[in-house]
């Protein structure tokens, strides 16, 4: 089963768009599910089950969002056609038509779902033709699915999100946004911004341009963006909803999120900030050590690598002041030991911490929006994103 649906604590972090557009937004935790495996591979099981995927996976009370693909695993390119999109599961490649896709959604019964779309775009000018195709196909899929949706009583409760495609070509992105906005969708998905193929400035410019074309009263969801600084940049540019693969990836590489998002801690809590900041700074000072366990190159400035020898006898919690299960009951030394001995419990504890911390971050964002202090939060977080050995402040 695709890993996102199977993590029991997998959630979408929802941002409350109250300050920006007066839209209540979804405050609850939601789950992302990809039909690529859940749907296509156990489609028949879900059909027989009849009660929908949320209940099947033991989360009947959560909002369920169904994406097309797993943002964490890149897909092979070049397989989509005018009538089909390819998905990859444990039994290989599956070609899905709009009709088959809606069959799968009927079995899943999600609260929200991404409409089947062609997001397989190539960066650069060479991709202009391909970008145009992605927009044309996706609109055609959307129209077909909307038609089927009207005739599907099982999906009356389910909200369809239109996917905005167009690769890195501004014209195509605008066209996709305008055209998709004309359709009766419940929300919008900004697709194709996953990965690092696109230059950062291009990405941000396109996101801003796209959301400018979208109605204020419908949520905007983005795939593939998860790092705290990038999340803030997208929120500034009109995005509401993100996935939580980022804390999952942090966990997978044996790391814990320790960045601070409390701009105005009370004086007693000020020490927490300092500890966190100190740890992040020390991250860069590893070069002089011998025998360093290799941290994942994807590791961000917002984390600490618990397998590092320095945590062997560090009896503090992962993050001072954190109220998660791991920080309340265990120490860095213990998690370090679990990682070094390859115990399953390491991932369990880290996941609990990383999710709680990440969701806390989004709560802070919502608070900042309400209080009109997003810029402050952004500056605070960005300062931590800049921690490197080169500019670590001495004696902090």
């Amino acid at each position: 089963m695709e890993r996102r649906v199977s993590e029991q604590a997998r959630r979408l972090a929802a941002r409350c768009g109250a300050a920006r557009r007066g839209h209540a937004g979804v405050d609850a935790a939601a789950d992302g599910v990809a039909p690529g495996l859940l749907g296509a591979e156990i489609h028949d099981v879900l059909e027989e089950y009849k009660e929908g995927a949320a209940k099947f996976i033991g989360m009947p009370d959560k909002v369920l969002y169904c994406s097309l693909l797993d943002p964490v695993t890149p897909c092979p390119s070049g397989y989509n056609t005018n009538k089909t999109v390819s998905l990859w599961g444990s039994s290989g490649r599956m070609e899905i038509t709009a009709s088959k896709f809606m069959d799968i959604q009927r079995a899943i019964q999600p609260d929200w779902f991404q409409c089947i779309s062609d997001g397989d775009t190539v960066a650069g000018e060479a991709g202009r033709k391909r970008a145009k195709k992605s927009v044309d196909r996706s609109l055609s899929f959307l129209d077909a699915c909307l038609q089927i949706l009207e005739e599907s009583p099982e999906l009356q409760r389910s909200v369809i999100f239109g996917a905005i495609e167009g690769g890195d070509i501004l014209e195509e992105r605008l066209r996709s946004a305008r055209e998709t906005a004309k359709r009766p969708v419940g929300g919008f998905l900004l697709d194709g911004f996953q990965g690092c193929a696109m230059a950062k400035e291009t990405k941000l410019k396109l996101i801003a341009s796209v959301t400018a074309e979208l109605p204020e009263d419908k949520p905007r969801l983005i795939h593939g963006v998860g790092k705290p600084d990038e999340v803030l940049e997208c929120i500034e540019r009109g995005v509401d909803i993100f996935e939580s693969f980022f804390p999952f990836q942090v966990t997978e590489r044996g790391c814990a999120l320790v960045f601070s998002y409390d701009c105005h801690p009370d004086p007693e809590a000020a020490v927490f900030m300092q500890n966190g900041a100190q740890d992040l700074e020390k991250n860069g000072a590893e070069e002089d050590q011998d025998e360093i366990p290799k941290a994942d190159p994807e590791m961000t400035p917002f984390e600490i690598f618990l397998k590092d020898k320095r945590y062997q006898d560090d009896f503090r919690p992962l993050l001072e002041g954190c109220t998660c299960y791991c920080c309340q009951r265990h120490t860095r030394a213990y998690v370090h030991h679990l990682l070094v001995t390859s115990e399953l419990l390491a991932g369990v504890l880290l996941m609990m911490h990383n999710f709680q911390h990440y969701f806390g971050f989004f709560e802070a964002i919502r608070g900042a929006l309400r209080d009109n202090k997003l810029d402050q939060l952004k500056e605070f977080v960005f300062r931590q994103a800049l921690q490197t050995p080169a500019n670590a402040k001495p004696g902090q």
Partner: protein, 381 residues
């Protein structure tokens, strides 16, 4: 054999027998340990390196576990006794509020010739003292139960000598209960010798070691019975390495109180779920559309929330599935022991045994099981 060591003065008895079965040698009891009482018969999950394979301490406690095992060799190597001690002992390190039992660590395998004044037994107890478990095991000279010849006698005699040294080396006898381990292989004479010698020593409890290593089941149960017959009534009897449900039931009938085994957690990691009738291999295709829980009568979190079909789908690619099965399998073992205990308290243990065996084997109960139960005083129809 050497003269017995002096008894520890003023030590309160560890075991309180609450009820005895009127037919068999089974008894319902309670261990009074430093970290709380433990009802017996008890199954102790194994948490080798300070964790029961992906289960949090809170989950384990919520399942009703009140004592589990730590492995001295692994913990003695990583993270090492000093670090564990600085974490507040193994209890603090794992954040486990209930009882712990550590094994001896098998230090006889380690060559300590450079440290000639430190013996293997001394080292084992020293590390176990640092870990701080409520029950610690003597270092014993273990031979495989299928070994024959003079090696068996040699190992048994050595184990007795090492017992005395372990008793002497135990720096906190009032907090850490040192158990002796009866050896002697499958030789009744050697086992009897060992029992006679070790029961002269005033230890708080006895373990029956050297069994459950693939030996013939007929010999196995006879050695267990021989051992429990010669062990004092009011001290706990710990049968090491036994964990299959049938073996647990039979050995309770033969008079054992405590058990440990990696089987339930290990089998979970192969996708196998324990049920009254045996086990379900959830990876099998037959479970793909089975929307029932593993066991409708099991109250564990896995059975309350998830279906066989879901677990089957999950097992294909996701470690989380194994976690659910581990929770269930531990719950199964603990529930089994609780049911056994309740039946002894209510003087219906023989009925419990019959029902258990019939649901598992139907009419085809293995011969050794029949014989063992018969010898224990329980006849099967």
């Amino acid at each position: 054999m050497a003269a017995p060591m002096a008894a520890v003065p003023g030590a309160a008895p560890l075991l309180r027998v609450v009820a005895e079965c009127g037919w068999s040698r089974a008894r319902a009891a309670e261990l009074r340990l430093p970290h709380g009482p433990v009802p017996c018969p008890v199954f102790m999950p194994v948490g080798t390196r300070g964790t029961a394979k992906g289960i949090t301490a809170a989950q384990l406690a919520a399942l009703g576990c009140r004592i589990c095992l730590g492995n001295t060799y692994h913990l003695g190597t990583r993270p090492g006794p000093e670090l564990v001690q600085r974490s507040g002992g193994l209890h603090g390190f794992m954040d486990w509020p209930h009882n712990l039992l550590t094994d001896s660590g098998g230090f006889q395998m380690v060559s300590l010739s450079e440290l000639s004044e430190v013996t293997e037994e001394g080292k084992s107890i020293e590390i176990q003292n640092a870990l701080g478990a409520d029950i610690v095991m003597q270092l014993d000279d273990v031979v495989s139960s299928t070994t024959t010849g003079p090696r068996v006698e040699e190992a048994m005699k050595r184990s007795v000598r090492w017992l005395d040294r372990c008793i002497a080396a135990n720096r906190s006898p009032e907090r850490q209960n040192l158990f002796a381990i009866i050896q002697g292989g499958l030789d009744p004479a050697l086992r009897t010798q060992c029992l006679e010698a070790m029961t002269l020593r005033d230890v708080p409890g006895f373990a029956i070691g050297g069994l459950s290593g693939g030996e013939d089941k007929g010999l196995f149960w006879r050695m267990v019975k021989l051992s429990t017959e010669r062990l004092p009534r009011d001290k706990p009897r710990y049968l090491m390495g036994v964990g299959y449900a049938t073996d647990l039931v039979v050995c309770v009938a033969l008079g054992c109180d405590m058990f440990d085994c990696v089987f339930p957690t290990r089998t979970a990691r192969f996708g196998s779920a324990l049920v009254p009738g045996g086990s379900l291999q959830l990876k099998n295709h037959q479970f793909a559309r089975d929307f029932r829980p593993i066991d409708a009568d099991c109250g564990c979190p896995t059975c309350q929330r998830h279906s066989r079909a879901y677990l089957h789908a999950l097992l294909r690619t996701e470690p989380a599935a194994l976690h659910h099965l581990t929770v269930h399998n531990i719950a199964y073992q603990l529930n089994l022991m609780a049911s056994i205990r309740q039946s002894i308290l209510e003087q219906r243990f023989p009925q419990f045994v019959r029902r258990f065996l019939s649901s598992r084997y139907g009419a085809r109960i293995p011969a050794w099981v029949r014989e063992a139960l018969d010898a224990a005083g329980i006849t099967l129809d």
